[in-house]
Symmetry: C2
DNA sequence: CGTTCATTTGAGTGAAGTCAAACCGAGTGG
DNA sequence: CCACTCGGTTTGACTTCACTCAAATGAACG
C-alpha cells in the first residue's frame, strides 16, 4: 500500500495546494483510505490527457467532469457529488477534465494500488463494477435527455434530478454551479438556460432566490414539463 | 451454476424462437458458456422494464440499445457489435430496449450466476468492470457528440467510427442499420441524416452504393468535418 | 462607489425540424 | 415479364426552437 506522502502533490494542477488534512486512514476499507485534499473553485482535480494516477472520492462540494472541444465548446459529462468517485476506468490517461465548481474536498486513492487490490479482492472489484455501472446509467440518461428533449424538458428534468438528490428538503434546490455549467451539461447555451428559468418563474412553477436557490412551487407541473 | 436448459426461453420477447444452437459449453471461462440464440431483425432481445435475468454477448449482427420516450421519440444509446456485452449493470430490471437491427446471434448468460461467480472470482469481476468501463467511455463520447456537434460533425464522426471498427477495409463501410437508427443514435431526424449524407456525396467525400455501403473517398476531409 | 463577473433581456438569424410529395429497389402475384 | 405494392429514402417548401450578438441589469467585493 502506498503511504500518504506518495498521494500528495502528484497532480500538477492542484500541486500548489497543500493537502488540508492528511489522514493516513487505518480503516480496513480501501475506499476509506487516502489523503483528503482541498481544491478551490475552478481548479482542476485532473485534466484531459493526464496520467490516471489516482481515483478520487468527493467528500465535499461538486466537481464537473467535462470534455473540451478544440474550439472552446464544452460538454459536461456529469456533476460528481459527495460520495461519488471520479477517475475510475481502465485507460492509462484521463480523457476528461475534472474541475471544481466550488470549493471541494476529495479523497485521493492510488489507481494502481486500487486495481491491484481489486485483482485479489472480488468484493472490491464488484464495488468498482457497481460504481461504474451507476455512472453508466447516469451518462445514458443524460444522453437521452440531450438527444431527444427540448430545452424546457431538459431543464425541468435537471431540477427534478437535483431535488431528488437534494441533501435538504425536496422543494428547495441549491444550485452549486454557474449557468454556463448547466448549459454545458444540457447541451444548451447560457442564454437559453436563463430564458427557460425565467419562463418557469413567470409560470409560477419555481421561484429563484439570489440566483442560486430554486424553490419548487409546483412539483407536479415540473414533472409534466420534464416529460414524465 | 445454471444448466443450459435454464437459459432457454426465459425471455418472452424471443421465447417463440427456439435456440438454433444449444451449446452447453465446457469452457472454463464463464464468458464462453451459455446457449446461443438467433434473433430476427427488429425482434427484441429484451425490453425496457423486463427483469434483468440474462447478460448477452453478441456473436453475430448488430443490436441497438435504445430508450423509447412516451410520445414515440427514441434515443439509441449504442450499437452493440459482435464481442460486445449487453445487459450488464446492477439494476434489477432493464431500463432500455435491445432490438436486433438485422438477423443476430447472441450468447445468453445468466445474470445471477454471473454475478454470484464474480463475487468469488476477482478476475471475473474485474472483467465486468472493464466491460462496463468501455461502455461508459462510449456513452460519454456519444454524449459529447450529441450535445455539442453539428449534424455534419456527428455524421462524419459516426462514419469514421464505423470505418475504424470495420471488419473489412478502412474505406468501405457497411451500414447494417436504417437511416432512422442512425438518426435516433445521433439525436437527429431521418431527413437531416439523409440531407447530410447527400451533402457528403455532392462534396465527393463519400460515395453510397445501394444505400447501405459507404465508400470513403476523402478520409482526410471526413476527419476535418468530424472536427478532429 | 466603482469594478468585475454572472445573469438576464432583446432583436435578429440560422440550423435542424416538420409536413408533404416524389423516388427507388425488392418482392409478389397476375 | 411487367404492373403493383410496400418499406425505406430522398428532396422540397416552410416553420420553429434555440443560437448569436449585443446591451442592460444585478450581485459581490475591495
Amino acid at each position: 500500500m502506498l503511504g500518504a506522502a506518495e498521494l500528495v502533490g502528484t497532480n500538477a494542477h492542484v500541486g500548489q495546494i497543500p493537502a488540508v488534512a492528511v489522514l493516513p486512514d487505518v480503516s480496513s476499507d480501501r475506499f476509506e483510505r487516502g489523503t483528503v485534499r482541498r481544491i478551490e473553485a475552478k481548479e482542476h482535480v485532473f485534466c484531459d490527457g493526464d496520467l490516471r494516477t489516482h481515483v478520487f472520492r468527493i467528500e465535499e462540494g461538486v466537481v464537473a467532469l467535462s470534455k473540451l472541444l478544440g474550439d472552446g465548446r464544452r460538454q459536461i459529462i456529469e456533476f460528481a457529488y459527495p460520495g461519488d468517485y471520479i477517475g475510475l476506468g481502465t485507460l492509462r490517461e484521463h480523457i476528461f477534465d475534472a474541475q471544481a465548481t466550488c470549493a471541494v474536498k476529495v479523497r485521493c486513492l492510488s489507481a494502481a494500488a486500487l486495481e491491484q487490490e481489486a485483482s485479489r479482492d472480488a468484493s472490491l472489484a464488484l464495488r468498482l463494477y457497481k460504481a461504474v455501472s451507476a455512472e453508466l446509467a447516469a451518462a445514458r440518461s443524460l444522453l437521452v435527455s440531450v438527444g431527444q428533449q427540448s430545452a424546457m424538458e431538459r431543464l425541468a428534468g435537471f431540477l427534478l434530478g437535483l431535488s431528488e438528490r437534494g441533501e435538504t428538503n425536496d422543494h428547495v434546490v441549491k444550485l452549486p454551479m454557474r449557468r454556463s455549467d448547466i448549459a454545458d451539461l444540457l447541451g444548451l447555451t447560457i442564454e437559453t438556460v436563463s430564458r427557460t428559468i425565467t419562463k418557469l418563474r413567470t409560470m409560477k412553477v419555481i421561484e429563484v432566490v439570489r440566483g442560486t436557490e430554486v424553490h419548487i412551487l409546483d412539483g407536479d407541473r415540473l414533472l409534466e414539463l420534464a416529460g414524465r
